[in-house]
């Protein structure tokens, strides 16, 4: 069934279809309508879940951590400074290997205050040990929430579903509401092997010392370094799981099918624009325009940022002439984080494209189609070379 709703409501319906048991969230613009919709669904009895109101984002994720530890499927959502207020708990959720799903409705971070869209919030948390998925439209938001639960519970790693504030969160689009029974088959109930049970007390995540030590039974227990190494290796192994889940989703629902990179006119392109989120769809219009001018350019939307699909990127792009990375985030004092990661992914290839970086849209600065076209016209030339530092689009000074 197709419905017309906002991106935030698409996210809430994804959570409802996932039959999430515990929701804890603190409202923050532009995420607020997700929490409002979910509280309505719980209040009206349409959703059989506990909605736990909290006084902060730190508590919201702490509630999810506790609920997830008891074996419940949990959800939270936030944006910008709210995500940063959770930072300590983000690392905890990942280290504790809890399959929490969180929507990050991307917004710029203060100071100065902004409520508008960029990607600095989620990108700044890339090293917290969470999987990060990026959605490009409303259909992808609802579908990605459902896939995120399947992924998180398969690999025991929490997942962020990131989508652009306002551009997606507050706009209305038609999208297909997946059928409840089909979702149930795709996403079976959460049945963890190990969970907190009052009848059988256990210790979770107690202090570790620098070295390994025997547990109370005398068996060697893993230390901090072993546990963290396992998180990293499992993150890398998640790349294969993402491929499998995407295939199964495509076979079941007939949508998606691109686990890491969603290409548009990339096959016969010499140059490829790379970005995350709704910008990759915005760029499709620009690509069509430039194709008419005879410039062989395509656009690739990156769906997964952590674990970084470096091999998929190297295989897809190493034979191209140039990559142009558009980013709504910046590693201050260096360059765009995605830009640096893409260059690193290509480094081992002897024949590799030039890579350029544009920073744009920070704090919701309007991204004009003509500016994107100008940047691509300027970059898509055989004489272009890899840059060390980003250029800025739409800067007025």
């Amino acid at each position: 069934m197709y419905i017309i709703e906002s991106g935030n409501v698409a996210a809430a319906f994804g959570v409802k279809l996932a039959e999430t048991a515990v929701i804890a969230a603190y409202p923050i613009t532009p995420q607020t309508p997700v929490t409002e919709k979910l509280s309505e669904l719980v209040d009206s009895g349409e959703m059989n879940a506990q909605y736990i109101p909290v006084e902060s984002e730190h508590s919201a994720l702490a509630v999810c951590i506790a609920a997830s530890s008891t074996g419940s499927r949990t959800f939270t959502a936030t944006s910008a400074n709210g995500l940063l207020y959770m930072a300590e708990q983000l690392h905890w959720a990942a280290g504790a290997r809890l399959p929490i799903v969180m929507c990050v409705v991307n917004r710029g971070i203060g100071a100065p205050w902004t409520v508008w869209n960029d990607h600095q919030d989620s990108i700044s948390q890339r090293d917290a040990g969470w999987i990060q998925l990026y959605a490009c439209d409303h259909q992808q938001i609802i579908d990605t929430v459902i896939k995120a639960y399947r992924l998180a519970e398969t690999v025991s790693i929490p997942v962020m579903v990131c989508y652009d504030g306002y551009i997606l969160s507050h706009t209305y689009m038609p999208f297909e509401l997946p059928d409840v029974d089909t979702v149930r088959k795709f996403l079976p109930p959460y049945a963890p092997e190990y969970f907190l049970d009052p009848a059988c007390p256990k210790n979770l995540n107690t202090v570790t010392l620098p070295d390994i030590r025997p547990d109370v039974r005398g068996d060697t227990a893993p230390g901090y370094m072993e546990i963290r190494h396992n998180l990293h290796t499992d993150m890398r192994r998640s790349l294969d799981v993402i491929i499998d889940i995407e295939k199964e989703f495509y076979d079941t629902f007939g949508r998606g099918g691109h686990p890491f990179i969603e290409p548009y006119r990339v096959n016969d392109a010499d140059y490829v624009a790379v970005c995350m989120g709704s910008l990759s769809y915005h760029l499709r219009d620009v690509i069509d325009k430039l194709r008419n001018e005879g410039i062989a350019v395509g656009v690739a939307g990156l769906r997964v940022y952590r674990p970084f699909p470096d091999k998929a990127i190297a295989d897809a792009f190493s034979h191209k002439k140039g990559l142009i990375v558009f980013e709504k985030a910046l590693s201050y004092g260096n360059q765009g984080a995605l830009f640096a990661d893409i260059k690193a992914a290509l480094y081992a290839k002897t024949d590799r494209p030039f890579v350029r970086n544009y920073i744009l849209g920070l704090g919701g600065r309007e991204i004009k189609t003509c500016e994107l076209a100008d940047a691509l016209r300027d970059s898509c030339k055989p004489s272009s070379a890899t840059t060390d530092r980003p250029e800025w689009i739409g800067l007025k000074m």
Partner: protein, 103 residues
């Protein structure tokens, strides 16, 4: 999924019991020494007082007529000595005791 391929094979999950936090007695700088001449339950042969047992944050003091402190896990915080109404517990430098034991 085969067991060896399972995800999250290494987590900090354990059964509660003495020693789950390691041999925390090695952290101790001051050792609580109990004087049975002053200790209320020892002196009166009654199940009384037990302030040390109540206040010990690590549960290493027994509720017996002569309370016993488990030095394997006692961190030497000194709360028992502070709370003992009879002044029966003295905190002694661990180094002095070790030097004496090694003589």
């Amino acid at each position: 999924m085969k067991k060896k391929d399972a995800f999250a094979q290494r987590k900090s999950h354990s059964e509660p019991g003495p020693g789950d936090g390691g041999r925390t007695g090695s952290w101790r700088v001051l050792r609580p020494i109990l004087d049975p001449e002053k200790c209320i339950p020892a002196k009166t042969n009654k199940n009384a007082c037990y302030a040390c047992w109540i206040f010990c944050p690590d549960g290493v003091v027994t509720k017996t007529k002569l309370p016993v402190i488990d030095y394997e896990y006692c961190k030497g915080c000194g709360i028992c000595a502070e709370e003992c109404p009879a002044g029966a517990i003295t905190m002694v430098e661990e180094t002095l005791l070790i030097m004496e034991e090694e003589k």
